[in-house]
Symmetry: D3
Amino acid sequence: MRILVINPNTTVEMTKQVEAALNKVKQADTILDVTNPSSGPDGLASACDEIVSGYEVLKIIRNTKIEDYDGAIVACYSDPGLVAAKEICDIPVVGIAETCIHFACLLGRKFTVLTSSRERIPSKELYVRNAGLESRLASVRALGVSVVETTHDPARPKDAILEVGKKAVVEDGAEVLILGCAGMAGYAEDVEEQLGVPVLDPSAVALKTVEGMVRLGKKQSKVAYFAQPPKLCV
Amino acid sequence: MRILVINPNTTVEMTKQVEAALNKVKQADTILDVTNPSSGPDGLASACDEIVSGYEVLKIIRNTKIEDYDGAIVACYSDPGLVAAKEICDIPVVGIAETCIHFACLLGRKFTVLTSSRERIPSKELYVRNAGLESRLASVRALGVSVVETTHDPARPKDAILEVGKKAVVEDGAEVLILGCAGMAGYAEDVEEQLGVPVLDPSAVALKTVEGMVRLGKKQSKVAYFAQPPKLCV
Amino acid sequence: MRILVINPNTTVEMTKQVEAALNKVKQADTILDVTNPSSGPDGLASACDEIVSGYEVLKIIRNTKIEDYDGAIVACYSDPGLVAAKEICDIPVVGIAETCIHFACLLGRKFTVLTSSRERIPSKELYVRNAGLESRLASVRALGVSVVETTHDPARPKDAILEVGKKAVVEDGAEVLILGCAGMAGYAEDVEEQLGVPVLDPSAVALKTVEGMVRLGKKQSKVAYFAQPPKLCV
Amino acid sequence: MRILVINPNTTVEMTKQVEAALNKVKQADTILDVTNPSSGPDGLASACDEIVSGYEVLKIIRNTKIEDYDGAIVACYSDPGLVAAKEICDIPVVGIAETCIHFACLLGRKFTVLTSSRERIPSKELYVRNAGLESRLASVRALGVSVVETTHDPARPKDAILEVGKKAVVEDGAEVLILGCAGMAGYAEDVEEQLGVPVLDPSAVALKTVEGMVRLGKKQSKVAYFAQPPKLCV
Amino acid sequence: MRILVINPNTTVEMTKQVEAALNKVKQADTILDVTNPSSGPDGLASACDEIVSGYEVLKIIRNTKIEDYDGAIVACYSDPGLVAAKEICDIPVVGIAETCIHFACLLGRKFTVLTSSRERIPSKELYVRNAGLESRLASVRALGVSVVETTHDPARPKDAILEVGKKAVVEDGAEVLILGCAGMAGYAEDVEEQLGVPVLDPSAVALKTVEGMVRLGKKQSKVAYFAQPPKLCV
Amino acid sequence: MRILVINPNTTVEMTKQVEAALNKVKQADTILDVTNPSSGPDGLASACDEIVSGYEVLKIIRNTKIEDYDGAIVACYSDPGLVAAKEICDIPVVGIAETCIHFACLLGRKFTVLTSSRERIPSKELYVRNAGLESRLASVRALGVSVVETTHDPARPKDAILEVGKKAVVEDGAEVLILGCAGMAGYAEDVEEQLGVPVLDPSAVALKTVEGMVRLGKKQSKVAYFAQPPKLCV
């Protein structure tokens, strides 16, 4: 099967990291096309970035022969443009945040989302509430490391993930940790080993989920929330 | 005071209707600049439209001397781009949906939102849940009339509002009705008289709210959810 | 327009403070009649006080030519007698707590209510839950200063508001602070400047809200929760 | 033990009905003093009535040698003045609504409250939400019979209870019915037999609960929500 | 009346403690048969134990002439097998956890459950959420003492209850404490005296509740959640 | 990889159906061992059956060389014994209900669960609430067909699924249907085609999910809710 993976920011380095991480866990017969927009933010750090990135995600979908794909992934933990992408596609589309929070609920009663900066906490909490999973959320905690730093300076985020993740487990009762930024993905294994709880790379979870959807022949329902728009303006 | 009112769709006729409605209720010393984008959807009928319109709203703000205004209103019941607009502005910005649902809670225990089509129900319900007001929502009911029809054929929406609004009151326990589309605004008075419950035109409510904010010297808090973005990509 | 403002306690000094504060923000053409009962508690510090004050509020309304007013405000953060006042009046009536918590939701994702003493925390939390806004509440925090002290010794409450308000922002994630007692009103401006988040005086918010209601010709719905009582016993 | 039972309305006939019903189920060694105020509403039909009745309940408590009692019951399904009564008493005080909704949860997953008129539905729903039991509520349904009629014309309420109660079971999934008015109490047995679900007379449930509290030596906690008021104004 | 009390674990010492505690508070005419299974866990410390104990509870009920009893109590704070026991019995059956959390809500706005070990916190929280009472829960706190230790070494649990209970009151706002293990029952009185808040022994609360049910002629509704199973496999 | 699939009831025919359904969607390299207990209920129709089946599931796990498997599935929509199974296993264990409700949330805003009989509705609703997904639940609807009939008479359940499923979509706003019984699995494809919404066979979803977990090297967290029991009594 052929899966389109859209990193919604312009940082090519992050696109490559996502591609490498997904190649490790994909099914043998899955072909991945990992791409990113050429304009828009280099990392999502605001609702403003989410709108612009969401718009770029939609343009990529419109400019791609989407019918050549079996599924698509929006690979940024803000899931920018996701609802719209599900509307305009006739193939299964998933976001890495939505798949990961639901998957986390199978592994523990409560999970913590690690995010870059303190200012992002309300939007990450709200995202979980939207999904209905607020009673499963131990906490959202900030690393104090920006999205782009996460990509460029590997040592800093790892130390921060370990320190903040430990607090989540000990103080908040987290049983599962979610690395709430595609750029943190590389640290999952090490952190998991040191903290003794499952640590999830959302992109990897999203890939296995969409592969499952394709295999089961399922895609988003088109009768209400994800109904095909009457007109397309993108 | 000077208020920027952005109709996020391209239908000039609707912009004029909003302007006329707001001129009736504005304070004597309020100056309104009512505008709309030149590209994007002609009425919001999908999450896809919301992304595109949200993007257009942000561009209007960026291309306006926003510091010349005391406040701003996003005048579409989907509040497209609202969180981002609050982030990038240093003046009070409100959406007509958010102000109206909170205002409705002062007038009755439960309110109903009237929307255009059945497919929009989940997103309108989710909007109320986001605000935390799901326990105050009697129902979201669809008129089966599109946003643009609402503007062009005045008789049809009025009949639909009366019929569906009555069901909301009798069957769902609604005590207040919200006309969940800027284009339905003109019918509030007539419907209110016939159904005997408050019927709210969200644009008018938003204007009085933002006038109050300006008078009180209040605007959105910039410490977390609406923090100024570190970089601007729009 | 003519607005009746009822301070539900017997402390004339507090009535005057409220009057002074409201005069600063009222519309030019708004005439305020600010009054208080001659019997009942001198400050509300218990559910018992709320019942007695609520009863006094109803008696004031019954003994006033209420039809000469365009709107009314119950000006105590416990909103004593508010639901009953809405029932028996045919003009818009608002409480300062209800208007302020809804207004706060337009300015930030989460707000904190500052109250006088620790014992009042559960009732303030419950009030927010009644409104349906528990997911928007960062915390209720107590100053450890009684309602009456708040009025008589200006230095103490201010220091307490600053200290406790800061904790609310830093530890609880509050983006907006509500001064949960009419007597704290005078400190809003100073505290806002020092803490960098909106600090709300509920009486002022209520006045702008009721002025807006009057201008829009709206009042509480009389079909269910605020239905006119079949008989009046007050 | 000695229990004070306060019917908060002035209808002596209803006081006698409550007394008769409680005498049937009390422990042998329980002595009941059943009383009612001489002023206030003759049946509670509004929030306004609740304030006045609440005030009367507090006055009865203040004018009684309350230390001669082991417990007290506020015997009206609106629980008027209950929180205040718990504050000012040092003996266990319960309301018939609060005890009954919690008791109902032991007998079935979902319960329905039958109330007199449609206008009372929002306040009854809100009462359940206050208690936190909204997920256990099948519905609140109105009989369309006033509180006083309930007392004076026995045939009408019984037919209404049977008809509306059946709808609650069949359409709303109610497993338990609560007769949400002290005056409906006499019909519990007959209705239960005909509908095949537990039908609760709240006064009787309250009596057994307060007897249990007295036997266990428990009363309301005085550290926060029910703290002794610093001053008493009643 | 005759009440069957099932301690679902095999520790005879605990059965005797429960019996002694219940004998102190039972009505004069109540006859208690307190029993325990001969196989299964000696104290419930996992969901696995709950399944096994639940199965043993059902076998005890099946092997008892249950029609000789007026009511039954499952006397372990995990309420193992409770829903099933309610299904298969035609007499009122209660669990000590369910009765105690509802009873606690009559005594204070928020309660804390004390449990043995940290690992049990999620299941105790979930139990409260199942009941719908999550908004009434101050916290679940662990003593760090195993269920069996609780029985065998009286000094340790008491110190732990005092220390952890105090934290619940001061830090979490608990107004009522629940001793969330049948084995902690003996300490209620002492702890209550020292901490100044009601401290509940769940078994005692359950006994008074089931005595009340029997006296009122009520038992669990059999129309839905507790419907008689079509076939019995135990 | 090697997956143990436990049908918790004794109906061998249903075990074979599950095996056949899973063989169609499994990865090429997945080896399935599908089994069922030899004693216990032949289909789960009560909480009593759930306890007995849960116990049987635990015994199967204990009597199996579980370390030879990479993952396990409890294949009955009641997920009997699931939490306990997750506790005692060191490999990923999933239930078909939990995986399916989370998966459904990726395909639509609201889902409906189809269950066998009306009496099972409360427990199915509660299961969804436990997961925190009550805001995503359109409804639970009963087919009026027993679990065993579902297996033995293929025509009847299919007609019922079509009729009841259509009501869920049209009246309740369901966007996704879950076949809430392993025995209904064979009808997913046909029903999906006729109703135009995704129809989920929970067993198939669970298989893809556990295959994904194995591939990602994830299993349930053992630090709290699913902690290894200190002693094993099964």
